[in-house]
Subunit: 106 residues, 2 copies
DNA sequence: GAGTAGTGCAACGATTGCATTGCACATCAT
DNA sequence: ATGATGTGCAATGCAATCGTTGCACTACTC
């Protein structure tokens, strides 16, 4: 099941931020809490929490409650789905633009 | 040759806008000028031109001069490269988080 | 129960991004 | 040459984003 075409820009907007990208890479290593993640970032814990919320809304991470701690985990399958959709779109463009070029030259 | 890891967020930021996404889809159909593209958009020609410039800087489109007209064309290979990088990252996450989970459960 | 650690929420300021309008310049057609 | 078309650049207004600080609340620890 792929995600809707119209939600793609929203997902990419979430990926299109250096801080969020860093958080995702960190989460790809191991799940962690907002406080733990903030310790490795040059910004406040609240700012990190906000970024994580953006990532969660984009479906790129999920949360897991451990007592008073909220652990965030990267969702690889979602990222794979994004990659698939992107590739499918690229394939469509390639073939369409190729035929246009062929028609122009032939 | 894939693009550098650090430029990935920049590329996704370019993709993370509804207007630019629409322009890309339109360009995936056939090359077109900024003025022609603006005719199908609810925003001004200058605004469209600015979006196209962003896409060009992200390496997602390329320009071709035809007299006084600047034609924009989508670069499918770049999109494919992005898809590949995204998928590779997702695969890495999957395997790493899977072993962590296995270790926690075992 | 007292103290500590982890979150969440709200208000604020600064920065960035998006779209607009107006103007100037280059190019094509007549 | 004249007029129309396609671009580019600059200034402005508006909105969203990002980060901060301060405070309150909940859940562990002792």
């Amino acid at each position: 099941m792929t995600i809707g075409t119209e939600s793609l820009p929203a997902a990419f907007a979430a990926l299109g931020d250096d801080t969020r990208w860093g958080l995702l890479q960190r989460l790809g290593t191991a799940p962690a809490s907002a406080t733990a993640l903030a310790a490795d970032q040059p910004i406040s814990r609240q700012a990190v929490a906000r970024h994580l919320e953006v990532l969660r809304e984009a479906g790129l991470v999920e949360t897991e409650i451990h007592g008073r701690e909220v652990r965030y985990r990267a969702i690889g399958s979602r990222l794979s789905a994004l990659a698939r959709d992107l590739d499918a779109l690229a394939q469509g463009w390639e073939s369409r633009l190729r035929s246009i070029k062929a028609a122009a030259e032939g």
